[in-house]
Each structure stands twice: as structure tokens, then as C-alpha cells.
Amino acid sequence: MLRLCLRRLASVVPIMAIVATLTFLLIQLVPGDPASFLLGTGATPEQVADLQATLGLDRPALVQYGDWLGGLFRGDLGVSLVSTQTVAESLSSALPVTVSVAVLSTVFTVLVGVTLGTVAAVRGGVVDRAVMWTASIGMAIPSFWLAGMLVFAFAIRLPVLPATGYVDFAASPGEWLSHLVLPMIAVGLAGVGPVAFQTRAGVIDQLSRDYVRTLAANGLSRRRIVCRHVLRNASGPVVTVASLGFVFALGGVMVIEAIFNLPGVGTLMLSSIRQHDLPVVQGAVLAFSLIIVAVNLLTDVVAATLNPRIRFS
């Protein structure tokens, strides 16, 4: 297991180097420059040039890249051009929001998807078809439309959940959760279908195995067999699908953060792009990449734990 983790960790370094380089290069292609944005219309070319010099934007791109990369190795992501806050500070307040939504929506996806898939596989017949139809419909609903409907239903018509905003977990776990329930469903619902389909196929496959018959012959209840043995053996592909769901959720939170007015990385990135606050954009992209790499690593570890053959392959 340790070797697997080390091998995966070693692959993170070149991946992050490529992401960092691509991020920097792509941002150079964005039209406009921060100095013009900050100075507004009517600024003279001299004023723009002065500010560019102050911000260090007049240096060749390679020099800027070298500086940025050097800072990165020292753990310094730079300073926002607009707020003069450090990028690390900006990200530290935004990341918990985005990660909260992504983690909760993944938990929701797995919980609901595994439950539906298991029910469909075990019950079969009409229940199976009904569950699979429902899961398919869930996959087809766009998250931004669902978000609007959820707000209308549970925040306006039946005011039990807040329509917008975020409360820190440390400030009030209850309010933290209540503010994230609707975003969680809006982001997570689309992932329920794939997880349910994968679970259903896995459970049906496992239920036909000999060990299930042996366990039943030994007097174990069907519930115990399914929950303790079948689900565990069927969970390998589900973990992979769930991790993909997490990555999908991270992408989805960009839109969802705007609808629910959540101060997450998506919102931060969007406002930074609008304000040409390049260090923050670079930091946010890097943070996203790091999370995705970490989740992939975690997925490998979980899959290896569930299936020892992976560890030795």
C-alpha cells in the first residue's frame, strides 16, 4: 500500500508542473491587462505603463513565470493585484466552501446512487425499472435548472432552507449544512444515475456468485449478505464512478456558486477573471488541480483497500 501511495505521489509532481505551466500560458492569452482594468477608462498610456511596472507586468512572460514558479516552490502563491490580499488568504476562505459543496454532493450522490442501485438489483421487476428510469431522468436534469426549482420549492414556497449564502462549519454546523443542502442536491443529482447503474450491475453480478449461495445456506440474512459482502465486492467500480462524480461536482459548483451566492473558489475565480487578477486565477486553477489529483490518489487507495488484487498488480 505504501509503495502504491508513493508511486502515485511521485506522479503528482510532473502533473502539477504541467498544470502550472499550462495555466500560466493560457492566462497570458486572456485579452486585456490588469493595469488597464484597474485604472479604468480615460487612463493615459503612461499611467497604464506606470502601473504595469509597479505590478511587474512589464517584464517578459518567461521572467514572470520563473518568479511565479519560484514562489510556488516556497509556498508563496503571490498577491492579488486587486485586493492586495495574498492569494493563499483568498483561497483559504474560498476553498472550504467549494470543497464542502463538492464533498457533500459526492456523499449525496453515493448515498442515493448506491441505495437506488442496490434496491433495483435486489428487488428487480417493476421496482428495478422504476428506479432506473428515475435515475435516468435525474441524469438529464441540468443542475442550474434544478437549482432554481429547488430554491423555489424549499426556500420560497416552503421556506425551510436558505436560498443563498454560506455559514462556516465552525460557526454553526447546523447552519452550514442547511445552507449547503440545496447546492448539494443541485450538484449531486446528476451523478446519482451513473452510480446507481454501476451499483445495480455490480450487485446483480455479485448476487449470482457461489459465495452468496453459501452464505445464505449458512443462515445469514439477505440484508446482511447484501450489506456486508455483496456491496463491498461490488464497490470497486462504484468508487471510480464516485470519484469522477466528485470531479464533475467541482466543475458544477462554478455555476451553482453563482446561483446560491456561495463565496467559493468558482466565485473567486470568476471575479478574478473579470478583474484580470491573474495571480488569484492561477492560484485557483492550481488549487482545483491539486484537489482533483488528491481525489484520484484517494480513489486509488480506497480501491486498493477494497480490492487487494490492485495493490499487487
Binding site: S83, Q85, R123, I156
Partner: protein, 508 residues
Amino acid sequence: MVLRRTALSLIGSTVLVAATGCAGSGTGGSGQKTFTMSAFPTGNSMDPWKTQLSQYVAAATYDTLTHVNADGTVVPWLATSWDYSDATTLVMELRTDVVFTDGASFDAEAVKANIEYAKSVTPSNVAAQPYLAYIQSVDVVSKSKVRFNLTSSQPDLPYGFSQQAGWMVSPTALKNPSALADTAVGSGPYVLDKSATTQNKTYTFTRNKNYWATAAQWPRFEKLVVQLMTDLTASDNAARSGQIDYTTVTAGTEITGWKISEGAACAFHGFTIFDVEGTINKPLGDVRVRQAMNYAIDREAILKSVLGGHGDVNASTPFGRDSTGYTRSIDSYYSYDVAKAKRLLRQAGYPNGFSVKVLNNPQWDQMAQALAGYLRKVGIDVELSNHGDDLVQQTNSGKWAMSTSLQAVTGLPYSDFTFLMTKSSSMNPLGNSNAKVNALLAEAVSAEGAEQKRLYAELAEYAAEQAWYVIPALSSQLHAYNPDVVKVVEPERVGGPMLYHLTPVGGE
């Protein structure tokens, strides 16, 4: 059966736990002691001289030298009185009982420190610069008296001091301005609660217990929460679900139990013709062509369809119904007359029209598309070129003949014409100047009473005739609020209520 129960409980538990955990804590709306409002994000520093902060965020912690009433009159605040000793010298008397939250005193030295810092800091609050540019120097006459030496006449500087050019920051804090990135050190009615604030998202303020103004002068809430929202749907949802008590809304919005108020028509929104000399696009250099463009648009129809009927028809002149010298006849200077537009184009030598590329902000696409549609009907082929990310850079580049624009008109004709039709205008990248506009402005600013009105009326008509713009209407902003929580002084001659126009129902 057991499995089904497990499944249902698994599915339901997530939602139910959360719902029971939150009911009544996050959705109940604010009481009268707490006022929660939404506002558009602008800058993300608490230094009001470095960035254009949301007006409500800035006004919570920083006082301005003057205030502006709902009827548009400028009234004392930190400055108790003022007088122009001559056209280029403004003397202000200041309050002597004001202390900043860091203990520093507000006095003439503080005003001088603020103005000097505001004029030199980079980047700077672009909304403050048009007025600050007039101030050549500041003299401390005494502790309570300050003198502004101006570069040229600017009779509206007291108004400017009620807006973005009037914030007063502690002079001690200005010595270490980097600390102002996330800390506000003003003398305002509220103090920033940093622990409950997420910068550029949610700002929480509590009442400033040592505030100099009495409850009668400015009744305040115990707690003020300003939530910055970019998405109008999000603010609309927050309003409908009772999370906020005040927001700006779009035309046609109705919220049960809420009141909608309409600000004065002050958004000068449409096409700006940069190239009035015709150096980039030759036809635009001919006044008849620019006039044809104005005859080609149906102002009433655009006002109704694009602006939801909220605003006043405008003849492409920065002159509103509250402007000194306004007469109704100016509104109908350009009738919707396609035949006349075509005739003018023919006379100018463009019987088949011409093509023009317009710098466009995608946010204003609805207006741009409407205007382009009308212009195409008379043969003017408008190609809209979207530049959302680099709009400022493109505007400043000087390579565009026309642009979509949205600029504020204050109703103070000297400022409006100066900021929109002289060389110093921020939306004048080609540096156009019109001798008659300059002469009329110079004459009007030194005139008084009926003569001044007559001169501004003449200027408004001349500006319309010169057609530097294609503006169908001055649009107004709609504001919605919960009347059980907040008392709003309805804006009469201003675009929207200032923070001091939003007070608790039943007083402090």
C-alpha cells in the same frame, strides 16, 4: 422490507437532518434590529481611495464630507458649510467632534491627507478621479477649516464630496495603507465585524457606539449585513425567501409584501460615438450622419421594450429632467423619422448607408442589438464586437469609432457636460473637443438664475444637435425592500437611496 426502509432512511436522512438543523436559523429573515441588503460587488479592498467599493459597504464605515438628499440637494455632513470664495477656491467648515475608530481626530489635516493620498495612490478609485482631478491643492486654514484650490471652475465639488470623492479615512491609517486591504478605519455609522465578514462577498457591520451623529440625524440598525451578489436571480431568490430586506430588481419583479421604488432616470445608456471627427470611420465625422442615426431609432419603443418603461426618453444629450434649464421640448428633439434619417444620409453622401464596427460590452447586448436593428433599417450596418474581458483596454486604445456605453448623469449640467462632452471625459479616448460646448459651459458656470438656465438649455440643445451619442433614454434603477424592516426615503432626483436613506422602521 427492511432493505426498503434502510434505503428510504438513507435517502431522507441527509435532507431531513439538514432541514431540521436549519429551520428558523437561516431562513427567517432579519428582524428590525438587523438589516440585510444585497449590493453589486465592485472592489475588494476596504481602502475607498484604491478601489470603487460598493457604495453601501463604504458608507457603513466611512463618512463623506457632504450628503445628498433624496431631492438632490447637497447638505452638510462632516463639512458643516461651504462657500466658493472665487470660481476656483472652495472653503469648507468642518465638524470638530468627529473621531475615527482608531482614535484619530477628524480635522482639516485629515481632509488634506485624504485628498493628497487619493490623488496619488495607484491604482485609484476611478469613480472619484473626475472630481479629484479639479483639486490642485488643499490648504489647512485652521483645524476646522479647509481650502480647496481648484485647477478650474467646478461648482459641483460639494456634490462630488457626497459620492466617491468624499470618503474620509483616518489619517493615521493612511500612513500604513496596506492595512486597509481588509480593515476599515473610518468615522462612519457602523464598524466592520471582521469575524463575520467574507471579503468581496458578505460584509457585516455593527453599530459604531461612538458615532458622532445622533439617532435623529441618522437612525441606524444594530447590525447591517451587505451581501454582494453578482447574480440577479440569486438576490431575487434571497429576497423572496426572506434572507434579505433590500435589493435592486429588474422591471416586472414583484415580491409579496415588498415595495418597489424607482430611482431618478440617470443612466445614460446607448451608443457613444468616439469618432466625431471621422478619422476612423469617415461617415461619422459628418454631423448629418450622426443626426440620421438619432432619427433612425424609435426611442419610445426602446424605452418600453428594452428598459421596461423605466426611464425618460432622451435626445442623446447628457441632460435629464432634473437638470437646470430642462424643458420638455428637448426630449422630442429627435422624432422617430426613418425618411428623414435616410434623407440626411443621402445629403451626407451615403445614400446606401455605411458599415461601422462597434465595441460592445456583452452585458449591454440587449440595448446594443436594439439600436443596431434600427440603424440597419436605414442602411447603417452595425457590427457589434464583444469585448467583455478587455473592454477598458479596448476603450482606451483609441482604435474604435463607436462603443456601447452606460454612464451616469447626475442632473448637475456642468458636471454632466464636462464629464461626457469635453476633452476630459473618460469616455472620450480620441480627445474630442467642441469649442461651442466649451464656451457655453464656461459662460453657464459663471452665470446665475434664469440666464444660467437659458445657457444650459442652449447647451443641451446644441449637444443634441452635435449627436456625439445615440442614446434613446435615461434609464432608472428599481429597488425593492421589505417595508416591515426598513424605512426608505424614496429617491426623487437621485438614482437610488444612499445608506443614510435606509433606516429602521420605528427608528433606532
